[in-house]
């Protein structure tokens, strides 16, 4: 026989626990026992849990800064380097995944490779200081995106060439732009330019402001027309410098 006064007491405890207002020491030990014999309170428990589960969604969404994701994934990939799941991967794939920010071993789209090689050859032919080349890759938002960042110290200019990003309808067509950021090891991201779509319809290029070697990371985010002073949109490209 279920005592309705007992049900009320249990439901009050369940409600308090559900919204996080009950300390562990305050939970009556007989609540669990009561739940095993009382269908009404089990139903209440399930419904309270369901209601509480959606309360977070009533809040006005706030996006975390991009650096949080980057710092987190650096730790996770660092942790994972020795795990069985990662060790089982082919070597190149393992190196790819072990370097979430740089992903140095990305297979770069042909045109980007050609562009990088051409720029490098141009620099060598001038007998100048060697250029530096960095691979960048898509985040999980655009995992097929690949690219290369080439820095020429002789003219202190960097060129970012990217393939695999969605076309003008998705970004750069008026509703959004792809904005490039240079990010130091400690400190805020600096806006460095915008990717523009080339006549071939698949290659995106940006000539960047800023001395790339002074930074830690290059990233691309989707921003409103005209760009943003700080990153606000989805990160679609990332690479270590």
């Amino acid at each position: 026989m279920i005592d309705s006064a007992e049900c009320l007491r249990v439901e009050e405890q369940l409600a308090l626990a559900g919204v996080g207002a009950l300390e562990a020491s305050e939970l009556d030990s007989d609540v669990r026992r009561h739940l095993t014999v009382c269908p009404r309170c089990r139903e209440s428990a399930a419904s309270y849990a369901a209601v509480v589960a959606v309360l977070a969604e009533a809040l006005q969404p706030v996006d975390p800064p991009l650096g949080v994701r980057r710092a987190l994934m650096a730790q996770v990939y660092g942790d994972a380097a020795g795990s069985p799941a990662v060790r089982a991967r082919p070597r190149l794939a393992r190196l790819w995944h072990a370097l979430p920010v740089s992903r140095t071993f990305t297979l770069v789209a042909g045109a980007a490779v050609v562009a990088a090689i051409a720029l490098a050859a141009w620099g060598v032919s001038r007998g100048a200081t060697a250029q530096a080349s960095y691979q960048v890759s898509g985040t999980t938002a655009d995992p097929n995106a690949r690219g290369t960042l080439v820095y020429d110290p002789n003219v202190q200019t960097s060129t970012l060439v990217v393939h695999g990003l969605p076309g003008p309808d998705a970004a750069g067509g008026g509703d959004h732009v792809y904005e490039v950021w240079l990010i130091p090891a400690n400190g805020p991201a600096s806006p460095a330019g915008f990717l523009t779509l080339q006549p071939d319809g698949s290659t995106w290029v940006a000539v960047l402001n800023g001395a790339v070697p002074a930074y830690h990371t290059v990233a691309v985010t989707v921003e409103p027309p005209g760009g943003s002073a700080t990153p606000t949109g989805i990160e679609v490209i990332s690479g270590a410098v």
Partner: protein, 185 residues
């Protein structure tokens, strides 16, 4: 933005693939950060707590049990508990699934309420909260979004503990009726 389905994320978590955390973050990081920031009230602390949440999930990737609820609910519970721990110290706290696991292990009940909440929009959740009597809404807001204990709510509102309990129960009862009605219309 492409998002992996929850089922695939759970598979990746099970195989200890780091991509699971990337996918989880992209799916629920924003929601969790919003909740954590509301509770801790400081951007830097919220960022730290958010990272702690995902690292905890990564290091205990096998602790998610789909039979107990959705991935989103689980991640929100992790975020809320971590945030409350941060603002209130490491005192013992009842986690959502501790007293309720007997109930949510029953697939029939769990499925019923999963369907109800899946059909609810953000605006409808806000409408339901707005429809509560002010004292019930304030109780829920102090507890869930503010991280206050029943004793703290009692002091803050100047009401007996028993009244706090009663208001919390009545608020959740009212919310479930409102949300159930919204989901079925």
């Amino acid at each position: 933005m492409k998002r992996l389905p929850d089922e695939r994320i759970v598979e990746l978590l099970g195989s200890r693939a780091p991509e699971a955390i990337e996918a989880l973050y992209d799916a629920y990081g924003g929601l969790m950060y919003t909740l954590v920031l509301r509770i801790v009230g400081d951007q830097q602390v919220a960022e730290d707590v958010l990272q702690e949440c995902f690292l905890a999930v990564w290091r205990r990737a096998d602790s998610f049990d789909a039979a107990r609820g959705s991935l989103k609910s689980w991640m929100c519970a992790v975020a809320r508990n971590r945030a409350i721990d941060r603002v209130r110290g490491q005192r013992g706290r009842v986690q959502l699934d501790a007293p309720l696991d007997v109930a949510v292990n029953e697939p029939g009940l769990s499925d019923t309420w999963s369907e109800v909440v899946a059909a609810i929009t953000r605006q409808e959740i806000r409408d339901a909260l707005d429809a509560l009597p002010a004292e019930q809404r304030q109780t829920i807001e102090l507890a869930y979004y503010g991280g206050y204990s029943q004793a703290e709510i009692s002091r803050k509102m100047g009401i007996p503990l028993g009244t706090v309990k009663g208001r919390a129960r009545l608020a959740l009862e009212r919310l479930r009726i409102l949300m159930n009605g919204m989901a079925t219309t």
